[in-house]
């Protein structure tokens, strides 16, 4: 059938540009030497993986990665959905478009810029937040150096930056819900809230599931760039994640093999989670990615 033909361009691109270079994965199992190239370098088996897993702080680092990632998923996954739902309730089109554009702005600011900003706002002495707290008679909080507060800062700042942009996909999904369904619900006596619950949410449920399952794939990437900029030695115990740890341990060395091994480790875990997530959603909701 010509259906298969439609797959041909995509398959060609896939095979040439994703599968042909895939032999590079074996770098992780070798001691890479520039001159010998990937194929000529010495085979070392699981050495690089063991190097990661058996290293002194791996336990702490792995735990932190999981905790921070799960915090981010549990807290930050629903918010863009809620934002999209609220946006949908706004009927003044011009205002809605304006607001929608504005809330995506933080996405365009790099972490380098945002760190400068947050460090100032959250500063222990003279920072905006603490000044407000002091006004209400509360003690200043050292957000960035106190292990108890640090993870919260990570989640909050990450959310603030990405929520607006992440909401776009849900706004688009909502736009795809057949308007007639709202009509029908209204006739059945459903108010706006009930309509949100019984029309909108179910209408975008497959999008939500797809995004949630895929999000699980990135669980071992807890925000390396953000954390590298915001953390400092006193919060390593709670904020040091795989990405930041590997960065520090690899300073001064050019370690393609090691970096690739870490990447594969992260990918394998992520991939397994996605498979599980997909199976689970198939069982629970009947919908899945494949």
């Amino acid at each position: 059938m010509d259906l298969y033909l439609l797959l041909v361009p995509g398959l060609i691109l896939l095979l040439v540009f994703k599968y042909v270079p895939m032999y590079g994965i074996i770098i992780a199992f070798k001691d890479f030497d520039l001159n010998a190239g990937i194929l000529g370098s010495k085979w070392v088996g699981l050495y690089n993986f063991r190097r990661l897993i058996e290293s002194a702080s791996f336990g702490v680092v792995f735990k932190n990665t999981l905790i921070i990632s799960f915090y981010k998923i549990i807290i930050l996954f629903p918010i863009p959905i809620i934002v999209a739902l609220l946006m949908n309730e706004m009927k003044r089109m011009h205002f809605k478009k304006f607001i929608q554009t504005i809330i995506t702005l933080p996405h365009f600011l790099s972490w380098v810029v945002l760190t400068g900003l947050f460090v100032n706002i959250l500063a222990f002495s003279g920072g905006f937040v603490n000044e407000v707290l002091n006004m209400f008679g509360l003690d200043s909080i050292s957000f960035l150096t106190n292990p108890k507060m640090f993870r919260g800062v990570l989640v909050f700042t990450s959310g603030w930056k990405e929520v607006g942009w992440s909401a776009i996909i849900y706004i688009a999904a909502i736009a795809g819900v057949d308007q007639e369904q709202y009509e029908a619900a209204y006739i059945d006596g459903a108010g706006r809230f009930k309509q949100m619950l019984h029309v909108t949410l179910p209408g975008i449920s497959s999008t939500i599931i797809v995004l949630l399952v895929l999000r699980l794939g990135g669980v071992l990437e807890a925000g390396t760039e953000q954390i590298l900029l915001l953390y400092s030695p006193t919060v390593y115990s709670v904020g040091d994640v795989i990405g930041t740890y590997v960065y520090r341990m690899g300073l001064g060395e050019m370690q393609y093999s090691y970096a690739t091994a870490v990447g594969i480790f992260n990918s394998v875990v992520g991939f397994i989670l996605v498979i599980c997530g997909n199976l689970a959603s198939k069982k629970i909701t009947g919908k899945s990615i494949w």
């Binding site: 030497d33 520039l34 001159n35 010998a36 190239g37 002194a56 760190t115 400068g116 460090v119 100032n120 500063a123 222990f124 002495s125 003279g126 002091n134 200043s140 050292s142 960035l144 150096t145 900029l229 915001l230 400092s232 030695p233 006193t234 390593y236 520090r248 341990m249 690899g250 300073l251 001064g252 060395e253 050019m254």
Partner: protein, 506 residues
């Protein structure tokens, strides 16, 4: 409907064609011009790879001057600013045919040498590079020779400290005191700043002393820590492992606890560091002598406090009279090498050799006498502005090694004079009496274990120092911590150093 897909297909086709034409055009242009160059010159075109610069090196006046004077045409390429190491590695491993690669710091040279990616320069220098040989002191030659083979042309620059503890002298005078000279005085001074708030910023905004990191070489010098590796009783020891470090950490932790150091110094955000100092929230800060440090701070503060003055504390005496400023014999400058895949290694060496001949070297660095620079009667040179800026400001990027035996120092001093405020700050920081300069142990060759582990271990040590100063770890726990440093490479370094130490010619 098929029309629609046909339309899209045609657009795609057009795009693809135009893209390939576009890129094809570029290729053709480059090819024709280089072919033309090759046929009209007897000397081959040399391809040189350098670090990133905003302006294309090929368009710079200096490139043209050098070509005119030497007869060699050099085509310059740049590495990107971000990811330069990755790009260089890829270029090296895929056999890019540059003739000269000119980097600032040694970087991953050892790796390239071990992998056999560089041309052995020894015979070439013997035959075609007398100036090259002459320009490097024995020490530089030793340090760049691996297995009796030379792979790198490099030179030692003048050593200097890049920054130091800077004081708002105007506020110091306001408090009717002076820049402290002992650790005791320093503590009293800082306490005075805290209590009197001379800049009037308010109790909670007063940070007193803003530091950039846990290591402060002037203060560390007062605890005998000016150098990490020191020879004692014929053996090399690691001072960071001992009591002196614990004393230093205790001192700093005490200051921190009493609110005399910026509580959030460890959080990165260099801009807020400058903000704090220029707003008067600290009276002591670590400022570099470069334009972005001293000069910028002065100009910024002048906008709010007209009579601002900044001076540096250049030494501090500790409890037992210990004092010292970290120093070194020089700073390795320029790493020039030739990849094995170069097609013109001989000509490249000849060219490098040409640049290291005395008058050529002066021409490269200083320009034309009377136009760009003049000779000072008492010795040395002085740039003539603005001509020097226009013609030769970029000369440090074009240097292929340097003449350590004579003009390198003078060129450095002359260039300092380009920017008077920079020179002022430089002199304030680096005018140190000879007896206070503490040199490291001068080994005959680079210590491999150090090259391999230094960056990682330094970070570990800095991080732990920060923790102790901030009270997140106790001074007593330092010994336990240092055991990990030793096991992760510190021991290897000491071992190797002790093997090399007896070999040093006395």
């Amino acid at each position: 409907m098929l029309k629609l897909s046909k339309r899209i297909a045609t657009i795609m086709l057009c795009c693809a064609v135009s893209v390939s034409m576009f890129s094809g055009c570029q290729k053709k242009a480059v090819e024709t011009s280089s072919k033309a160059a090759e046929t009209t010159k007897t000397k081959p075109v040399l391809k040189e790879l350098l670090l990133y610069n905003k302006i294309d090196y090929n368009t710079m006046q200096l490139a043209k001057d050098l070509e005119a004077k030497s007869g060699y045409t050099v085509k310059y390429d740049m590495l990107p600013a971000t990811g330069a190491v990755d790009k260089l590695n890829l270029l090296m491993s895929s056999g890019a045919d540059y003739d000269i690669i000119n980097l600032n710091s040694p970087g991953d040279i050892d790796r390239y040498i071990k992998s056999g990616l560089l041309t052995d320069l020894t015979p070439l220098i013997e035959q075609y590079g007398p100036n090259i040989k002459e320009s490097m002191t024995q020490r530089t030659l030793d340090r760049t020779t691996v297995d009796s083979k030379k792979y790198v042309v490099s030179s030692m620059g003048v050593y200097y400290n890049w920054d130091g503890p800077a004081f708002r002298t105007d506020l110091v005078e306001k408090m009717k005191t002076k820049i402290p000279t002992t650790t005791e005085e320093f503590k009293t001074f800082l306490q005075l700043v805290k209590d009197t708030d001379p800049a009037g910023v308010g109790k909670d905004k007063n940070l007193v002393w803003t530091i950039k990191g846990p290591k402060n070489y002037v203060v560390m010098g007062a605890f005998g820590l000016a150098q990490q590796y020191v020879a004692e009783n014929g053996k090399v020891v690691d001072k960071y492992a001992g009591q002196e470090m614990k004393d230093y950490l205790a001192y700093m932790a005490d200051l921190y606890k009493n609110g005399l150091i910026d509580k959030e110094f460890a959080v990165s955000g260099g801009s807020s560091f400058m903000e704090k100092f220029t707003q008067g929230r600290s009276v002591v800060a670590t400022l570099e002598w470069g334009e972005s440090g001293y000069k910028t701070a002065l100009e910024t503060i002048k906008k709010t406090s007209l009579n601002v003055k900044i001076d540096y504390m250049t030494s501090l005496k500790g409890k037992d009279g210990k004092q010292g400023i970290t120093w070194d014999e020089g700073v390795p400058e320029g790493t020039v090498f030739i990849p094995k895949t170069s097609k013109n290694a001989v000509e490249a060496i000849k060219y490098i050799n040409w640049t290291l001949e005395k008058s050529n070297n002066l021409y490269l660095n200083l320009g034309t006498e009377g136009v760009d620079y003049k000779t000072v009667a008492t010795g040395g040179y002085e740039p003539i502005q603005p001509a020097y800026e226009e013609d030769r400001a970029v000369s440090i990027l074009f240097n292929l090694g340097g003449r350590e035996q004579d003009v390198k120092k003078e060129i450095f001093n002359a260039r300092l004079g380009r920017k008077p405020m920079q020179k002022e700050a430089y002199l304030k920081i680096n005018t140190i009496p000879e007896n206070l300069k503490v040199m490291p142990i001068l080994f005959n060759k680079a210590i491999d274990a150090k090259t391999k582990n230094a960056a990682k271990l330094d970070k570990m040590i800095s991080d732990e120092m920060t923790k102790v100063i901030m009270g997140g770890a106790t001074v007593a726990s330092w010994d336990d911590f240092y055991k990990t440093v030793l096991s992760q490479g510190g021991d290897d370094i000491l071992k190797e150093m002790n093997v090399e130490f007896p070999k040093i010619k006395k």
